[in-house]
């Protein structure tokens, strides 16, 4: 299946030197995640081609950085995947459990499968409870500051994939 998601735009205002926050903030902090985020800067839109639920082609040509990928995974202003997924990492003290723990995920899923899952989980699982991190079409009442922007940039996604592949 060739789902072309209208894409996106995003060169991160990146990152080196940003501190990783491992502990949750004050009560109910997920709610505030939204508007305090540095929004990505627009870049050229690109097409994503799905094969089944997977996306074989990397979204960028830049080599992926697993260290930065962990920051994307943990940080509130980025993927904040720890809202729903536990990690086998003693530095991560709090994590949610809406999604499965991701220990060993690097030996269970390929880069292409991980990319598909993060770009748009509904391609594989129509009723997925996970956000689509690189999709801008067919969304409903997106708040103005986020309209036609993806949650993560292409490079964020490549980096987080590289990080997940280290979890074996």
């Amino acid at each position: 299946m060739t789902g072309a998601l209208a894409l996106k735009r995003a060169a991160p205002s990146l990152a080196s030197g940003q501190a990783v926050r491992f502990a949750p903030r004050a009560a109910g902090c997920w709610l505030v995640t939204a508007l305090c985020v540095g929004l990505p800067v627009a870049a050229a839109a690109q097409q994503v081609v799905f094969e089944g639920g997977a996306v074989p082609a990397p979204l960028t040509a830049v080599p992926a950085d697993a260290t930065r990928g962990k920051i994307v995974f943990v940080q509130r202003e980025k993927g904040h995947c720890i809202l729903c997924h536990a990690l086998p990492d003693p530095e991560v003290r709090f994590a949610g459990n809406v999604g499965p723990p991701l220990a060993g995920i690097g030996s269970r899923l390929s880069a292409a499968q991980l990319r598909g899952r993060i770009v748009d989980p509904t391609q594989d699982e129509p009723d997925s409870v996970m956000p689509a991190y690189y999709r801008t079409s067919n969304l409903n009442r997106v708040a103005r500051p986020y309209a036609s922007r993806t949650v993560l940039s292409a490079q964020d996604i490549e980096d987080v994939i590289a990080y997940l592949l280290t979890l074996r």
Binding site: P24, A26, A27, G28, C29, W30, L31, V32, T33, A34, L35, I82, L83, C84, F94, A95, G96, N97, V98, T122, V129, P131, A132, R135, L139, N140, R141, V142, A143, R144, Y146, R149, V151
Partner: protein, 260 residues
């Protein structure tokens, strides 16, 4: 067997007055997902910070409205003692009102009295005055089971609220049901997800450092999934409120609730 079931479903579907079935047959209040400290605060009137709004509402109930063209009648001058007159009222709301041609929640009903009986300006949604009166009136039903009706002209509003509830929204592309029906009891980072029941509102939230309406809470959930927020008091949120009240039928009114 499966064919028969399918036929039965069709037959039921054809008859529009079929009673809808709740996904959560035995609802659980949001307070049961909070800490001991919060439960204690809610249950102790001397400590529950929401009681300040209830007290303020009591004073407003007795006071008239001053100003040009205004009928200087207090709520009490028509309704008498709220402890009797308002007992059980909040448990039935929102209700369909023929004069308004719409459903009214408690805030809407109070403002209807402000405008039509006191000839005063309506109180702004989320204003301290409206929060206080709403809390005071709702408090008179504390402990009584919610019994919202979705019959008759309320039904299309219920259905609109239900449609809103199950539709994905926002940049994070989640529906209310994804969190509050499929994942209640799980953790979002360090915060337990409740069933998202409405029986605790108006509620004092520690995060707000104040008391807020149900609509404020719903807007916070929309904000969290990066969705366009519906205006407080809007038709969308009224319809959603009716759906939530039906979902919560049987749970005790807690006003004023206390939440994180």
């Amino acid at each position: 067997m499966i064919r028969h079931l399918a036929l039965l479903t069709l037959a039921l579907g054809a008859c529009t007055s079929v009673a809808p079935i709740r996904n959560i047959a035995e609802p659980r209040s949001g307070v049961t997902f909070t800490s001991n400290d919060i439960r204690k605060l809610q249950n102790d009137d001397a400590a529950n910070p929401g009681m300040l709004w209830v007290e303020q509402g009591k004073a407003l109930w007795r006071a008239g409205v001053e100003g040009a063209g205004v009928d200087n009648k207090s709520c009490a001058s028509c309704h008498g003692d709220a402890e009797q007159a308002m007992r059980g009222v909040a448990a039935r709301y929102p209700v369909y009102d023929a004069a308004a041609g719409n459903i009214l929640n408690l805030e809407g009903r109070i403002n209807q009295c402000r405008v039509h009986r006191q000839h005063a300006e309506p109180l702004r949604y989320e204003s301290e005055g409206l929060l206080a009166l709403t809390s005071y009136v709702a408090h008179q039903s504390r402990g009584m089971p919610i019994q919202a009706s979705i019959d008759g002209p309320a039904r299309p509003h219920f259905e609109a609220g239900q449609a809103h509830y199950v539709t994905r929204q926002g940049q994070l592309n989640l529906s209310c049901a994804h969190c509050h029906e499929r994942n209640w009891g799980k953790m979002l980072l360090a915060e337990p997800i409740s069933q998202g029941q409405s029986n605790g509102f108006p509620a004092y939230r520690l995060e707000w450092q104040g008391l807020g309406s149900l609509h404020r809470r719903l807007r916070a959930c929309q904000f969290g999934i990066r969705a366009e927020r519906s205006a407080a008091g809007s038709q969308e949120l009224l319809d959603l409120e009716l759906y939530l009240a039906w979902r919560a039928n049987g749970l005790p009114v807690e006003a004023p609730g206390v939440r994180r």
